[in-house]
């Protein structure tokens, strides 16, 4: 099929005529779009990571030892290896508070790398299988039975550390041999890096003297609130009645990170606004030069029958082609940057979860829209001037 001559092909030729200038403008739009895509991907990933984690936990309130809220979030959100303990009686006291439907506890034990034949440093989660509603759904997908004493199941990421695959292996945990009976699916929480055991193993572990835990201690209690009760009211009641515990509502989990994120967002926003202003100014400069250089050509076009809208359409094609090319490159660059920098940013590296394809597409569409809009807005004033050129005057002026 032969290429038909159209305003589009005409616009392409005009762009090629000043290739360096067009490339510079496209590069500016590319940088703008890349910074938008990267910033939005970064912020969205942190938010979605936190949202994913809190939804997978399935608890309305998290009760931790006073002052350990940050450490608990670091374990749950950022895969950090931390231990913190409170008296196990807290769990029963929480259970008695009005509005509490279910409570389950978990005890976080830190393995020691130095210990001979043990797994690398990681969190071991001892959970109460009777009351548990956090791990049970994950376990149900993989094991379909409760864990026995001396058995462990490993989180998705931990499996790589201790070489657990299709075959069951025995590993040393706190001087005790544990049979690793499987690998959990990815949950999107920091607990993907943990090893899960039943809490009936704790006595044996304490006997080994390597875990640093006292009898009867737990790390965290997860609470489900009864229907019709307000989670905040229940959380306040927990804090008022149990002085040695802090209560964190599901929606407040990750607040510390989100607060930090606000500062980062501010920096991103300032950088994006600056890039947008510079790109818009560059578009204005380029198309102002175009308007001056091609006034005579526009006059000729008008004289041979071009309407104002034809002239606008021709120049809009040029603006759009440059803007879309720059924006598409920016989307690729921004997405690649967000993927590559995940490994460098501690916050993203440790935070579970990733952006889905649909979210990435939405961010890309947003980036494309922003890149194109800035370029069009920048070129608008010169375009208006070109449109209004009087044919004869334009032909004579140049």
């Amino acid at each position: 099929m032969k290429n038909r001559f159209s305003l589009f092909s005409f616009a392409l030729k005009n762009i090629r005529r000043k290739a360096v200038r067009s490339t510079m403008l496209a590069a500016a739009i590319m940088l703008l779009t890349a910074s938008i895509v990267f910033a939005v991907s970064f912020i969205t990933r942190v938010h979605s990571g936190i949202a994913l984690m809190t939804s997978r936990l399935g608890a309305d309130i998290m009760v931790v030892p006073t002052g350990s809220r940050g450490a608990a979030e670091e374990v749950l959100l950022e895969n950090k290896v931390k231990s913190f303990y409170m008296d196990g009686s807290v769990v029963d006291r929480v259970r008695r508070i009005e509005g509490v439907e279910e409570v389950t506890s978990q005890t976080y034990l830190v393995t020691l790398t130095a210990l001979c034949c043990s797994v690398p440093e990681s969190i071991v989660v001892a959970f109460d299988q009777k009351s548990d509603f956090i791990v049970r759904p994950w376990l149900a997908e993989k094991l379909r039975r409760p864990l026995k004493k001396g058995e462990a199941i490993v989180g998705h990421e931990s499996a790589f550390n201790i070489n657990v695959g299709l075959v069951e292996i025995d590993s040393m945990l706190f001087g005790n041999v544990f049979r690793m009976v499987g690998v959990l699916d990815k949950t999107g929480t920091g607990l993907d890096n943990a090893i899960f055991i039943s809490d009936e193993n704790i006595t044996d572990i304490m006997r080994s003297g390597t875990a640093g835990i006292k009898p009867g201690q737990v790390s965290i209690a997860f609470v489900k609130v009864r229907k019709g009760f307000d989670a905040r009211t229940v959380a306040n009641a927990v804090e008022n009645n149990i002085l040695e515990a802090d209560a964190v509502m599901r929606k407040d989990i990750g607040k510390r990170i989100i607060q930090t994120l606000r500062d980062v967002s501010g920096i991103f926003t300032a950088a994006v606004v600056l890039a947008a202003l510079l790109s818009g100014f560059l578009a204005w400069t380029v198309f102002s030069a175009v308007a001056n250089e091609r006034a005579r050509e526009v006059g000729i076009m008008r004289a041979i029958g071009a309407r104002e809208s034809d002239v606008v359409r021709l120049f809009l094609w040029e603006v759009l082609l440059i803007a879309v090319a720059g924006s598409l490159l920016g989307i690729v660059g921004g997405t690649a940057l967000s993927v590559v920098l995940v490994r460098s940013f501690v916050l993203l590296k440790d935070l579970a979860g990733d952006l889905g394809f649909a979210v990435r597409i939405l961010i890309a569409i947003g980036g494309l829209g922003a890149g194109v809009a800035v370029c069009v807005i920048g070129a608008l004033s010169p375009l208006r001037r070109i449109k209004k050129l009087e044919p004869l005057g334009a032909m004579k002026e140049a």
């Binding site: 038909r4 005009n14 071009a306 004869l392």
Partner: protein, 230 residues
């Protein structure tokens, strides 16, 4: 009904505090298929009169009727449509777009005629045929920079016929051409006038060319005088 009726057309410019009367009260009736020539010195108002007829400049006073329709009432887009459908321009200066080939320069008016920004399927064939008729069949894909001044002029001449206009407004159309090519172009104009009934209004300095028109006018200080038919 006459193709064109000009009644009391005047054009007055203000320049550097001075009032310049470029066209002063021109009244003229042009029938379809006429070949009109206008001669006159530089600054006599010939080009301004052509620009007014072509809707490139609005007259200060007077009316122009094209097939009974007053073009003075048309807005900017209406005038563009009038030019796209009825007028073919030949300018006295180089008027090709440098990024387009000879063929594409010819197809340019078609982009504006259709309104959807694309040329008709048969536009390419028509452009090639017109380029052949002006002796440039070997320059179809040449860019203006690859053509001599005379060749560029012939491309611009061919372009004026692309939209099948009823009226050709030619402003010194053969100014850059050697005698032989000038004669070829005049024969081409006369053939188009005779075969397709295209109406010509041609401004020229060349009195020999002017005499080949069916009606001759001369202009002095914006005022025209019709000469007796040869």
């Amino acid at each position: 009904m006459a193709l064109l009726v000009l009644e009391g057309i005047t054009k007055v410019y203000e320049a550097a505090g001075e009032t310049i009367r470029a066209v002063g009260g021109v009244s003229l009736t042009v029938e379809k298929g006429e070949f009109i020539s206008i001669v006159g010195h530089s600054g006599s108002g010939k080009t301004t009169l052509l620009s007014i007829i072509g809707g490139l400049v609005r007259p200060t006073s007077g009316t122009i009727l094209c097939k009974g329709a007053d073009i003075g009432t048309l807005d900017s887009d209406g005038l563009a449509q009038y030019r796209a459908e009825r007028i073919g321009f030949m300018f006295q200066f180089a008027s090709l777009l440098p990024v387009l080939t000879a063929k594409e320069n010819l197809m340019l008016p078609l982009l504006f005629q259709r309104g959807d920004g694309s040329a008709k399927e048969d536009g390419g064939r028509k452009a090639e045929e017109l380029l052949r008729r002006v002796g440039l069949s070997d320059k179809i894909n040449a860019y203006p920079a690859q053509l001599s001044g005379g060749q560029q002029r012939r491309v611009a001449i061919a372009r004026a016929f692309m939209n099948e206009p009823e009226i050709i407004l030619a402003d010194e159309p053969t100014g850059d051409l050697d005698e032989g090519t000038e004669e070829d172009m005049m024969q081409f104009f006369q053939a188009m006038n005779r075969e397709q009934g295209v109406t010509f209004i041609m401004v020229t300095h060349n009195r020999d060319l002017a005499r080949r028109a069916s009606r001759q006018f001369s202009m002095t200080n914006g005022v025209h005088v019709e000469h007796a038919r040869p």
